[in-house]
């Protein structure tokens, strides 16, 4: 055992210097070439930051496309999921009340059309995206509350649809923040 202590101590120190120090600094140096120097990509309006491109935010006004429910209320300093089991009765009641709230705000929509992702919380609580279904279902409400034609809103949604990777892999998505910013520009 004894003859192993000294190499163990020395190797540990070398590894600290190398992996915590040199490796970290190397990646930090490369980060200076990355978008916004590795500080996170922000979106600004008139020079003021209104959000992080990758992180969702809460939209409770009917004039905006609402984001998905968040278990942490879009707290970007404390991400998390609801961790509710799929058969938990309290959870299912909660989903039901979310459905009712959604139908109240979107009276032209039938219950069977409500996409589940709009009444279930995301994994991070910061989901920046909506599915195509979840965006389309809100078009009627947006158009009505903003006095726009549904076609204009629909065109905007289509413009913001990000196709699957290379058109082949994964789901199509729509970034809610970018969509809502452009929505404000329509009026």
């Amino acid at each position: 055992m004894k003859q192993h202590i000294l190499p163990a101590l020395k190797l540990t120190i070398i590894c600290i210097v190398f992996f915590c120090g040199i490796y970290t600094l190397l990646i930090l140096a490369v980060a200076q070439l990355a978008p916004n120097k590795g500080n996170g990509e922000t979106i600004s309006i008139n020079g003021k930051v209104v959000g992080y491109e990758l992180e969702g935010q809460s939209f409770s006004n009917d004039k905006y496309f609402s984001s998905r429910p968040s278990a942490v209320n879009y707290n970007a300093a404390g991400s998390g999921a609801s961790n509710k089991g799929t058969t938990n009765p309290d959870y299912l009641k909660d989903v039901e009340s979310k459905i009712d709230t959604f139908l109240f705000h979107n009276p032209s929509i039938k219950k069977s059309q409500v996409p589940a992702e709009l009444v279930t919380a995301s994994g991070s609580g910061l989901d920046p995206d909506l599915s195509i279904d979840a965006a389309n279902i809100q078009i009627a409400r947006i158009a009505k509350s903003r006095n726009l034609t549904e076609d204009r809103v629909k065109t905007l949604v289509e413009m913001h649809t990000e196709k699957p990777l290379l058109g082949l892999f994964g789901p199509a998505t729509i970034n809610v923040l970018k969509l809502n910013i452009d929505l404000d520009k329509l009026n």
Binding site: I14, C20, N39, A116, F169
Partner: protein
Amino acid sequence: MNTEISGIIFMYVAMVLLAIPLGSYIGKVFEGQRTWLDVIFNPLDKLFFKLGGIKPEKEMNWKQHLFALLTINVVWFIFSMIVLMTMGSLPLNPDGNPSMSADLAFNTTISFISNTNLQHYSGESGVSYLGQLILMLFQFISAGVGIAACAVVFNAMKERTTEKLGNFYNYFIKSCTRILLPLSIVVAVILLFNGTPMTFKGKDKFISLQGDTVNVSRGPAAAMVAIKQLGTNGGGFFGANSAHPLENPNYFTNIVENVCIVLIPIALVFALGFILKRKKLAWVIFGVMTIGFLSFVVPSVYYEMKGNTSIAKLGIAQNNGSMEGKETRFGAAASAYWGITTTVTSNGSVNAAHDSFTPLTGMFAMLGMMVNSFYGGVGVGFLNFYIYMIIAVFISGLMVGRTPEFLGKKIEAKEMKIATIIALLHTFLILSFTALSSHLYAHDPKTYASWLNNPGNHGFSEMLYEYTSSSANNGSGFEGLGDGVPFWNITCGIVMILARYLPIIGPLAIAGILAKKKFVPESAGTLKTDTVTFGIMIFAVIMIVAALSFFPALALGPIAEFFSQK
């Protein structure tokens, strides 16, 4: 074809296609053969050896390997406890996060040196940037230890009689510098250019479009996320792990991160084929692992894409599957796929909330950890598989009435005893601790009310999952469990420590003892191990030892939940 399905098929194919050449590369590294990265790494390794006072050519027997391995882990334990309990007042803490309590530091330390990365804290608020960097260090070196142990066993499986099995430090350093480091740099750079932050600035603050004030956690994440995926570590920078949009920004990074989970575990199987010059054996092992993996992943993807039965009853549309706890940019299929890849290996990073998986997906995730060798963790996954092979050889030997031989070495009582103890240890730890916690909860549900986030069978599953994850050194969780309390910190710590070191000691001992034995050349009477028949035999042993012994517990948890779905 559905783009979600084509996405996961692409991931699997990419994984295998990258693992095959990486396997030959790892084989060359272990054998000390020339590789194209020598230009950089020969001088670097020399520097490590010189400063560490290590003679890499000095060979060790299996006991010396073990002593070297355990000693360095003790040093890491002490060092980590000190840092985690004082980091609140150390530098690199712009957000002013506090130091850990003793029980939480104990849990976190064991968790990271054992390559588990169970996290009973949340990255944004529970640890400083310095703490994150130290945890990242353990992600490199604990993975390096696992790969080094695996290299020793590979060396011992060669056709010869010897006590000398290479130098531990040599394997360890080379695993870190030549395998983990270059891959981590590549992955970290990919993440950087897709938006993962790498900064030492503290929280940012802005006013959102509708006027809310939002604080945004950031930090040196890209460097850590890369190695946490590659080293089957899984400990995320942010609380939500790879579901967090900064940790896993888009579908492309999801492919990269998911491929990384299984890349080295598969590559090590091919490295075995390279080192022993038994390509066919490697393919048999890979085949068994793959069949196991596919039998878990296919139903899981099916059930997640099908949606939650209870929500379907509420009468809404579930065209995109069960989306509770999942991110839109990944979708149900890629979330289920990740859920299984991360549990069959001992990675434990998540891109969706496992607690909210439909019941059977939750069960397959647990089964992946219960078997713990369908690809398995870096290095240690193969060690677990090795134990099953020894048992399979012994049983088949008895069945045909021959002396059990494995790669030219006789398997006798001593090796079998060790193998059996190690194989049963996992079952024992999981079931006995789950029984203990269930007993406490059942007898005093009021005191322990904060433990469970869900009632009934699912609540039981939360406890079962936690100990399964600890014992498999996985680190994922049914995160609804209120696990940040001394009971869970300490019991999970004990499970992790036993489940890490004993399954390394056991296979090393067996391999060391076998290597010393006389080599018996293959004859007509030898049981051939590189055949499909033997593959089926291993598969049967795994299913009987691992899967069946957990069946009663699974029946109380996810299976009961599945059948009680309304």
